[in-house]
Amino acid sequence: MLNPLLQVRNLSKRYGSRIGCEDVSFDLYPGEVLCVVGESGSGKSTLLSTLALRLQADTGTLHYTSTEGDSIDLLSLSEPRRRLLMRTEWGFVEQNPRDGLRAGVSAGANIGEPLMAVGARHYGQIRATATQWMSRVELDTSRIDDLPASFSGGMQQRLQIARNLVTGPRLVFMDEPTAGLDVSVQARLLDLLRTLTSQLQLSALVVTHDIGVARLLAHRLMVMQHGRVVEAGLTDQVLDDPQHPYTQLLVSSVLPV
């Protein structure tokens, strides 16, 4: 039996008296894609930010199994080690590519930045890696010196994904990666994400409000309401045979094509 990559037990985050997320427990295994679904304000993004150590958790435990195989207590991790982890083993794909990209520098520099942050100091190699990743995410490699602002929304999102995967992370957090993209672009992006996660044996934690995205990407699903996980299980199981009334409502409110 594999060790879980991420082990979450009774994790809670409150904003004063309001609940952000409450009593969340789950395991994430290597190579697994876990989707968190729920309506706006259900605590999905709070959960993601807490797991990615962007927000301080109030109670609960959070453990991560490093490449060396030892378990790291994430909630007591020091700032330099958190940064190193973020940089070498984790990635975070923002909902809005503008938040995840550096607008003032070229696409190549955006992809190369994480490499330079971990010590790459050879211009030619950085550029070669950036070019390779651009073609992997199906971007025109001749546009390596263009600014991100000159790219379309879908291309910016793909650029952000390349930037996050260039250091070869093991765990990627994604906050609504396809929101705000039109349907055909969404489909291509989802296809790309599926290919990349299976090729690279990536574990991913994807937050989305789109049941369709979840069905396509996820191995497992967690449904959240009012900051709590109301149902969890294999994707097909949860979507085809929802048990909780809220899940039933969520599944039945998807518009038929």
Binding site: G108, A109, E113, G119, Y123
Partner: protein
Amino acid sequence: MTTMPTAVPGINPPAVEGYNFAYLDEQTKRMIRRSLLKAVAIPGYQVPFGSREMPLPYGWGTGGIQVTAAIIGQQDTLKVIDQGSDETTNAVNIRRFFARTAGVKTTQKTAEASIIQTRHRIPEKPLTEAQILVYQVPMPEPLFKLEPRVIECRKMHALADYGLISVKLYEDIVQHGSIATTYDYPVIVNHRYLSSPSPIPKFDNPKLNMNPALQLFGAGRERRLYAIPPYTPVKSLDFDDHPFAVERWDHACALCGSRESFLDEVIVDDAGKRMYVCSDSDYCHERRDELEAKDMETGVSSGAAAATADQGQTC
């Protein structure tokens, strides 16, 4: 570097009455010295200090002038340069300021000075252990243009997290084919802190490294001091396949014929005629004096150099 509350008249030109020695009050000077001690103890680290309002505008050297005021003593000899020259407005005014408020000797000769306040250059003549170089710094934070959050910048310094500065160099190569930063070229001081060398040309960066003189940096508006102690390693950042290199000119100085010094391009007439002259005026003068002395000895006049020398003095 001891200072006393009042200037002793007689030895040096008399100081203007009504001011404390070197303008600043003693408490302020002590505060600045305390910060300077910390800066010297942690090479390259930016130490905050309570910058005072000075009788010249921000951007004219308020940081440098406060550092000089804090360290200058009655026995010191001050030289002030601006872009290498002793004769520009900034240099003349700051030199006169200290001559009046501290009554210290001033000089234009690099070798005679014990304190050299500088804007944008390091003198060509190698400095000695007995000298202190004071830089005027407009923006002490090298990450300023890349990371607007001051808190985040401080964290990056604390964790030596300097990947971002390479992004700037990468962009330079993308846009210009080589690292096109020619002044204020970022350096790592003592293998640890990323620092801005103030807007000196990158030509001067190698002189920062293992320099026998104490180098102090003052930023008045940004309220930061930092230092490079004598004999401290200073490395200019670069890429393995795009190593750091200083600029070279195809020309020699039109006045003294130097090929080693940093040259200024000067437009001399309306037709756009140019000449290249040393930016370090003292270095240039000294070389010309030497040449003249040599000519006197041999009795041969070095025609070209002398002719252009006359032309140079008129413009």
